[in-house]
């Protein structure tokens, strides 16, 4: 033992090998990124004069928000909020209901290749378009109102929820699934006993999270004609009733915070 230790001189220094092994490539990536950033910043062409003019205008704008006026438009605020809430709830439930089959189909370890490809494309398409674009389409197709908003939010929910469900299924423990399969369970029983228990807690958490997102998006969707509180907000801005707009914003903020708290609580509870 001691002989061997005396014979070999071991180095006392060690450095972590770099992520990109070739030195020239590593340095040219750094330099390239630096050049690009400085050029990009150069093209932005900031007009400081206009920034200076805009700041006091912004101050006046914010001043017009105060004090927020809850009373004079309270009825339309309440209508808008209630419409947004039911739009959100129905869109979330419908979206998740649609997501379950799509998500099962988009999990490579459950579905045969053709089904997998179809479901993955459905997910990809609905994820390509943000809620606001979907809402514009829906408004063009079905006219103004909450139905368009509901449709836009449901489709967006499918893209979000089915993708995460499929990924969760792909990450499940295959041995538990094998065990249920080996009892002679049918496919549906297998899903119910082996897959569902493994993905359920995360799905409940994600549903709450999606409810939260859908409520926030319902305000955006309303601005392009999808009904709900967004429409009320837009009307308030159009009439230069900034104090009412401020009231609407505060109501939205309170509900979003409440939902966030609730979803956080529920997610901790199901874990």
């Amino acid at each position: 033992m001691t002989d061997i230790q005396n014979q070999t001189e071991y180095p006392g220094k060690w450095k972590r090998p770099p992520l990109i092994k070739r030195g020239w490539l590593r340095w040219s990536l750094w330099i390239g990124a630096a050049i690009y950033l400085s050029l990009a910043l150069g093209t932005m062409d900031i007009n400081w004069g206009r920034v200076a003019e805009g700041l006091p205008r912004g101050q006046k704008f914010i001043a017009a928000f105060f004090p927020p006026d809850f009373t004079s438009r309270w009825e339309s605020i309440l209508d808008g909020i209630l419409e947004s809430i039911w739009m959100t709830v129905i869109a979330t439930v419908a979206g998740i209901a649609l997501s379950v089959p799509v998500g099962l189909g988009a999990a490579r370890n459950l579905a045969p290749l053709p089904v997998y490809l179809i479901c993955r494309s459905i997910v990809a398409i609905s994820r390509t378009f943000p809620e606001i674009i979907l809402a514009i389409f829906a408004v063009k197709l079905f006219g103004f109102g909450p139905f368009a908003g509901f449709l836009a939010l449901s489709i967006a929910t499918v893209g979000f929820f089915a993708k995460l469900l499929a990924e969760d299924i792909e990450n499940m423990d295959p041995v538990q699934a094998e065990a249920i399969k080996s009892t002679g369970a049918s496919w549906l029983q297998w899903i119910n006993y082996a897959v569902q228990p493994q993905v359920m807690p995360r799905m409940i958490g994600l549903s709450m999270y999606r409810l939260d997102i859908n409520f926030r998006e319902s305000a955006v969707v309303g601005i392009v004609g999808g009904g709900g509180i967004g429409a009320t907000l837009l009307t308030a801005f159009d009439r230069y009733e900034f104090d009412s707009a401020a009231a609407i914003l505060i109501v939205i903020i309170v509900i979003v915070i409440g939902l966030e708290y609730l979803s956080g609580y529920l997610r901790r509870w199901v874990q």
Partner: protein, 268 residues
């Protein structure tokens, strides 16, 4: 009677996991399948209940040709083969009772299983089996609250409630401590004896295999290289299965531990 006739399995990656395996297991026989990691032990038992489809050869259980069944008939055939797993493979977020009852899934309809409305006979049997493996008080616990040995007992109950003719046991003791390992092996062997079940037990612990099985089959690189009684496992046979190593210690230890095992049995 389980019969395997020149069964081969080639995975999509091109690895030949089983080469021309022919094996016959009479009713009521407990057989230990030993061999190094990657010898094809897991593949072999998974071919029998078709969790893995064999590439060639035929497998028959009784007079049922398993290797050519449709998916519906395969479900019915799987009910007669209970499987016990290395990492217990309980569904962790289900209760102990649900895990045991999942062994009846092949016998009940979808809605019955969805609403957990199993026939009274099944529920009685589940309680009886839980009692038999010493876990009657754990029925409503979630599976992930149990210790390793307890989980494996639930796994055994789940396999037995299927009312199988054959047990396929994949490394039942690999994640357990030495004492629990023996208790589990003893339990499996006792239950097989009670119910006149045949069993194939994959195990890489040669000592345990020798202690509990009447017949040992050695698998090496997908081929059977030994088939005989446990005391026929001399140094030359073990070298053939596992490769060159000093086997004297292993073989000598068997006798010591046999006594220890007997003491333990007397105590419990």
């Amino acid at each position: 009677m389980l019969q395997l006739k020149s069964v081969s399995k080639r995975y999509k990656t091109g690895d030949l996991a089983l080469k021309n395996v022919t094996l016959e297991i009479p009713d009521g026989q407990v057989l230990a399948l030993i061999g190094p990691s990657g010898a094809g032990k897991s593949t072999l038992i998974r071919c029998i209940n078709r969790l893995v489809d064999p590439t060639e050869g035929s497998i028959t259980l009784g007079d049922l040709e398993i290797s050519s069944l449709s998916s519906w008939a395969l479900r019915k055939a799987r009910r007669r083969m209970g499987m016990i797993f290395q990492e217990y493979a309980l569904v962790e977020r289900l209760t102990v009772m649900e895990n045991v009852l999942s062994g009846r899934l092949g016998y009940v309809g979808f809605w019955q299983s969805w609403f957990r409305r199993f026939p009274a006979k099944d529920i009685k049997e589940a309680y009886r089996l839980l009692d038999r493996v010493g876990l009657a008080h754990m029925a409503d616990k979630r599976a992930d609250e149990l210790s390793g040995g307890q989980r494996q007992r639930v796994g055994i109950a789940r396999a037995l409630i299927q009312d199988p003719a054959l047990l396929l046991v994949d490394e039942p003791t690999a994640s357990l401590d030495p004492k629990t390992s023996r208790q589990i092996m003893r339990l499996i062997c006792e239950l097989c004896d009670e119910r006149k079940l045949s069993a194939i037990i994959n195990i890489h612990d040669v000592l345990l295999a020798q202690m509990f099985a009447k017949r040992v089959v050695g698998l090496q690189l997908g081929e059977i290289v030994y088939d005989g009684p446990p005391d026929g496992l001399g140094p030359d046979v073990l070298t053939q299965i596992y490769g060159e190593e000093d086997w004297e210690a292993t073989i000598r230890k068997v006798e010591d531990e046999d006594e220890e095992g007997a003491e333990e049995a007397a105590l419990s």
